[in-house]
């Protein structure tokens, strides 16, 4: 009697669909990778095509932390605090070799990969990575969200 006006699904599926298509990135830009991130967001590469164009500069309003650039040891507690301030659920992209491993800054002042401080979901190689690589990382995050067994409600 209702024809095709109903669509049945599960709460999990809807949540995951909504989350993966409305990521709010928070750029933690400390170096040249942040410049590359600007072009990812801008019209030519256009992160908006993947629903992640609403860049937030407050961790309270973001669920995707993009660490773009070298993180010094002195900056590490700041990065940890920003990560802790983000509301669950949240994901992290380490953009570029500096954020992933310290890169060629193998010295006394630089964090040897942000995964010594916070958990990382996707690492992006490159110095800096091409915008396509960053888009690919966002798509990888989306796939990861889609595959989550039990999407945490809050």
């Amino acid at each position: 009697m209702f024809g095709e006006t109903f669509l049945t699904t599960t709460v999990d599926t809807v949540l995951k669909w909504a989350r993966k298509n409305s990521l709010y990135p928070m750029p933690f830009g400390t170096a040249c990778c942040a410049i590359e991130f600007m072009s990812v967001v801008s019209s030519h590469y256009d992160l908006a095509r993947f629903g992640a164009e609403v860049v937030r500069f407050s961790p309270r309003q973001a669920d995707l932390l993009i660490v773009a650039g070298t993180v010094s040891c002195k900056m590490a507690p700041v990065l940890k605090t920003i990560y802790d301030q983000m509301a669950e659920p949240k994901w992290v992209i380490a953009m570029g070799v500096c954020a992933s491993t310290g890169g060629f800054y193998d010295n006394y002042a630089t964090v040897q990969g942000i995964d010594t401080i916070i958990p990382v979901d996707v690492y992006v190689a490159g110095c800096p990575p091409r915008p396509e690589a960053v888009l690919d990382a966002v798509i990888k995050i989306q796939e990861k969200i889609e595959k989550e067994q039990h999407a945490p409600l809050f």
Binding site: C73, A76, T116
Partner: protein, 173 residues
């Protein structure tokens, strides 16, 4: 004042060598710039003469080099420039890391404040009379001085987290 201003760095060197006979000696000039060794006791007086009489109005840089085989092992280098005459002079002071250290020129040039803090941070050279001699780039808990030649290049002492290597801790899946 301006009639006594030297037109070249060599003249400045001669003037200082005459005025401070025992305290100023000629140093190496690797790139052709005038470079003078000054004793720590006289560095403030020499810099004051340059600033007040020779119109060296710009402390471009103050830095340090570690020569571990020498005694004393450090050289503090002052890069003074005159915007009005275009003359540049390098001054060098031999120093070690003992108290009270090289007299600070922060009272003469406020720019020296952070330069001297950086030298203290990286080399451990102290500056007597500096208003606020703390580390400037690294953190208080950092042990040692990173730009000394005998600082272990592989040593890691991060503020938080393990020193090295990813632990790949994942919260999701």
């Amino acid at each position: 004042m301006s009639e006594t201003t030297c037109a070249t760095a060599a003249e400045v060197g001669l003037l200082l060598a005459n005025r401070f006979a025992d305290a100023v000696t000629e140093g190496p000039g690797p790139v052709g710039d005038t470079c003078l060794y000054v004793t720590p006791e006289k560095i403030v007086d020499v810099v004051r003469v340059l600033r007040d009489e020779q119109r060296f109005d710009f402390l471009m840089d103050e830095t340090c080099v570690d020569y571990p085989d020498r005694e004393p092992r450090f050289e503090v280098i002052y890069n003074l420039y005159s915007l009005s005459t275009g003359v540049r002079v390098f001054l060098k002071v031999k120093a070690d890391d003992s108290e009270p250290g090289v007299p600070s020129i922060t009272p003469l040039y406020r720019a020296a404040n952070w330069f001297e803090r950086e030298i203290y941070d990286m080399f451990g050279v102290r500056f007597a009379g500096h208003p606020d001699l703390r580390r400037i780039l690294l953190y208080e808990s950092f042990k040692g001085h990173a730009l000394r030649k005998d600082y272990d290049a592989t040593l890691r002492q991060p503020l938080i987290g393990p020193a090295d290597g990813p632990d790949h801790a994942r919260r999701h899946g």
